[in-house]
Amino acid sequence: MADFVAWRFLIFVAIFGMLVYLQFYLAHREWRKLKGEQASDIDVNYVRTEDYFAQSFRMKAQDWLKLPSSVDDQGATVIVKGNERIRLLENLGIAADGSCRDIVITEHDFSCGPRSTMTREIWARGNAVVGSESRLQALAADGAVDLGENVTIARWLDSNGPLTIGAGCRVGARITSRARILLGTGAEIRSAFAPEIGSAGWDGKVTHGDPAQFTLLDLDLSQDSADVGRQMAAAGLSQDRLLQLGPDTWIYRGDLAPSVAIRLKTNLVVKGDCFLPAACVLEADLRADGSLFLGPSCVSHGNLIADGDIFLGRSCQFSGLVHAGKSALFSQWTRGFNPQATVAVYADENMSLETDVAVGGKIAAGGRVEVVDSTGAFEWKARRGIGEKDLRVLAKGQGS
């Protein structure tokens, strides 16, 4: 019996020893392979550009154009590179329900009829017109682009001229234009970058009327304590909740809901939700650990940051950056422009734009950017418990 136990113990030791040896053997073998290798390469020359995919495709296409070509049965010039077929044409017009499986480069315009299918990238050196319900891989145009309704682009879309996205279109990745992007109702994209981006109904004006001229209560937290106390009391806020973070930045503990329209002159971090009534003016940055709700006609010159949702009421204007940790809704007539810089808007989840919203720069979302009608906007607000009563409170500024 004792011998049997000893044998079992020895077998256990042998197996255990082999397993230990094996892991060190494999580790040593791997080390010998890796010895002398450098870390995974970081591209130190990397520069982020919004139209990277389209520019990269154009550069590759330029290289392909230098390769030897032949003429196919239909008289089109064809370049074959490995498994890729690149078709070169003066113009290309595809009829309804047509399809093409080649990469296409047109010297001038490109167009396709409704329900067409293009499974590879297209580079139109003129304008491009895509019929409704068509499906494309990716499209770069040196002129203007016009997408019909319910078109699906699997990847990116880029143009040098104006870019019009029809109602209900879906673009899987970035849209970029060096002129203007107009998004139809129901359109869904991942991000848009252009000097001017507008949703359906936008007339091209960078402001929707002048900012409302109301009497505002100045809230300058850098003043002496007694003055700040008077200002806070007049706004229905508690000075006890105020904590100085830095020379130009304050923390307000709890929800912030001034009872009158204010002009905020210093950076403020709200450790809760923030509800600003109509016609407030923010001259510095505003951050909320919760959500941020701005009533109609508010004007923000700084950045708006929230860990939760961001809601901008009708006719709000902003000229800084907007970042929502969850989702965001910009109401009708919201404008985001800055003459000195491009603005950027980003929501970690979804970004919803009502009709007639315009931004000069970039709109992006971790989920999707969508253009919603009044029903969609109502649903967005209902999901967050913002009812008509809350909207009336938000709209109730001193001057409204």
């Binding site: 890796l34 130190v44 982020r48 950056l321």
Partner: protein, 448 residues
């Protein structure tokens, strides 16, 4: 009596190390979840404050040209940028290299510090009043910033509560020795998993004093740099968060660094970190606990971070207690707790990384074959444990005897120096990224 003490010590070791192990499992699991990490890349290029880049250089002739040339080639608007190159009491050609760059590039401001206390904190304290930026970015002299690095690092400052930001450090000399390979895995775990998970979970990623930056007004609000601290970056991190500032982490702002190639240099480096962290723990624990700006979990995690190097002596204490119990015939207790200690202790080593975190980091970085190297991390584990215990013993004995604090020691560089010589490390030297041509201009070397 001895047995009771041994049992208590062993139990204490197991509890502490198990808590740390659980914490690391949670971080790794959070990084494996499908939730998108918090990041600021979409704002890269849209946030353009006035920036001062501070580079403190003490006898850095081997690497000075590389970092300065890298910064000169960055894509940030020069109207809003200044590079403050600090020649910190150098006795080699560092000052000449800085002056040469400053003469050719107006964006570079040369500052020469002739005397005063040693240490990076002291150099930064000297240079900060001369910097005009709203944001101060910091790089160590052995780092290689990419062209867009500055834009990536300043993006989070659009949030008015962000007081400091940290990018990701990636070793450049990975495959040179076994140690550099192991440190590369450890860095990946520390940044790809530890820092990003802490940021995602609303805890505090650590500002590492390089490949990062601080808002000038935030720095002012906490009284500037602590030149007395051996880890002025850790000290600043927790002074900022205790006041209410946040630290942001940008995982995609990756920057190359050199890691120690020899165990001796590694021992000194981790010893300095251990001493600095523990100093910060004693100095800042009460302000962290009293802070009204921190939540319970943020306070708890901050104390975990600052106490992390104490886990090495706690582990050794557990080992000693196990031996005592074993040789005093307390087999039943010793066996149970020793197995638990082995399990928990095995998770803890090096720079707050665990085996599980190493594996997850390798997976996220697309370098999953590197997990095969993990058994070799035991060498790093034992070496680090010894170095940390030694450093902390010296620290506490020094405090008891009143002999003052340990001296700051510069970490050795391995790149070829300006004269084309190499440091004798037995493995050759890492090539320079830039070389100076006959016209005096620096160009990127083909082997860089």
């Amino acid at each position: 009596m001895l047995i009771v003490i041994a049992k208590l010590c062993l139990l204490f070791s197991v509890v502490v190390l198990t808590l740390y192990a659980v914490r690391h499992y949670l971080f790794a699991a959070s990084r494996l979840s499908l939730r998108r990490p918090k990041e600021w890349m979409e704002f890269t290029g849209f946030v353009l404050p006035r920036v001062s880049v501070l580079v403190a250089m003490h006898n850095e002739e081997a690497v000075a040209a590389d970092i300065l040339q890298g910064l000169v080639e960055c894509d940030y608007d020069w109207e809003k940028l200044e590079v403050v190159a600090i020649n910190d009491r150098s006795t080699d050609r560092t000052g000449d290299i800085i002056d040469d760059f400053a003469a050719r590039h107006p964006v570079i401001k040369a500052i020469h510090r002739e005397g005063g206390a040693g240490g990076k904190g002291a150099a930064l304290q000297f240079a900060t009043p001369r910097a005009t930026g709203e944001v101060l970015l910091l790089f160590d002299a052995d780092y290689f910033p990419g062209r867009s690095m500055i834009k990536q690092l300043v993006a989070p400052f659009c949030d008015p509560q962000v007081g400091a930001v940290m990018g990701r450090v990636v070793p450049h000399n990975t495959g040179r020795t076994l140690l550099t390979e192991l440190l590369s895995m450890e860095r990946a775990a520390g940044y790809q998993v530890g820092q990003q998970a802490r940021y995602n979970l609303g805890l505090t990623p650590q500002f590492g004093g390089t490949v990062g930056g601080v808002r000038a007004s935030a720095l002012q609000s906490v009284g500037g740099w602590n030149s007395e601290s051996l880890t002025e970056d850790t000290d600043l991190t927790f002074r900022l968060v205790a006041r209410g500032w946040r630290v942001a982490y940008v995982n995609r702002a990756e920057c190359y660094e050199e890691v120690p190639e020899t165990w001796e240099v590694r021992k000194r480096q981790i010893g300095r970190w251990a001493t600095g962290h523990t100093e910060c723990l004693h100095k800042l624990q009460s302000s962290i606990l009293r802070s009204k700006a921190l939540s319970f979990w943020q306070k708890l995690d901050s104390l975990f971070v600052l106490s992390s190097y104490l886990t090495a002596p706690i582990l050794v204490l557990g080992w000693i207690a196990s031996l005592v119990l074993f040789f005093t015939q307390q087999n039943s207790v010793a066996l149970f707790l020793s197995v638990a200690l082995m399990f928990a202790g095995y998770q803890m080593f090096g720079n707050q990384a665990t085996f599980y975190e190493l594996g997850v980091a390798a997976l996220l970085d697309g370098a999953s074959r590197r997990v095969l190297l993990m058994p070799l991390s035991l060498f790093n584990f034992f070496a680090s444990t010894g170095a940390i215990c030694g450093a902390l013993l010296r620290f506490y004995f020094g405090k008891l005897r009143g002999t003052g604090r340990p001296r700051w020691q510069k970490t050795r560089r391995y790149r070829e120096n300006g004269n084309g010589n190499t440091f004798g490390n037995g493995h050759g030297a890492t090539p320079r990224l830039y070389s100076q041509g006959a016209n005096g201009l620096y160009t990127r070397s083909s082997n860089g």
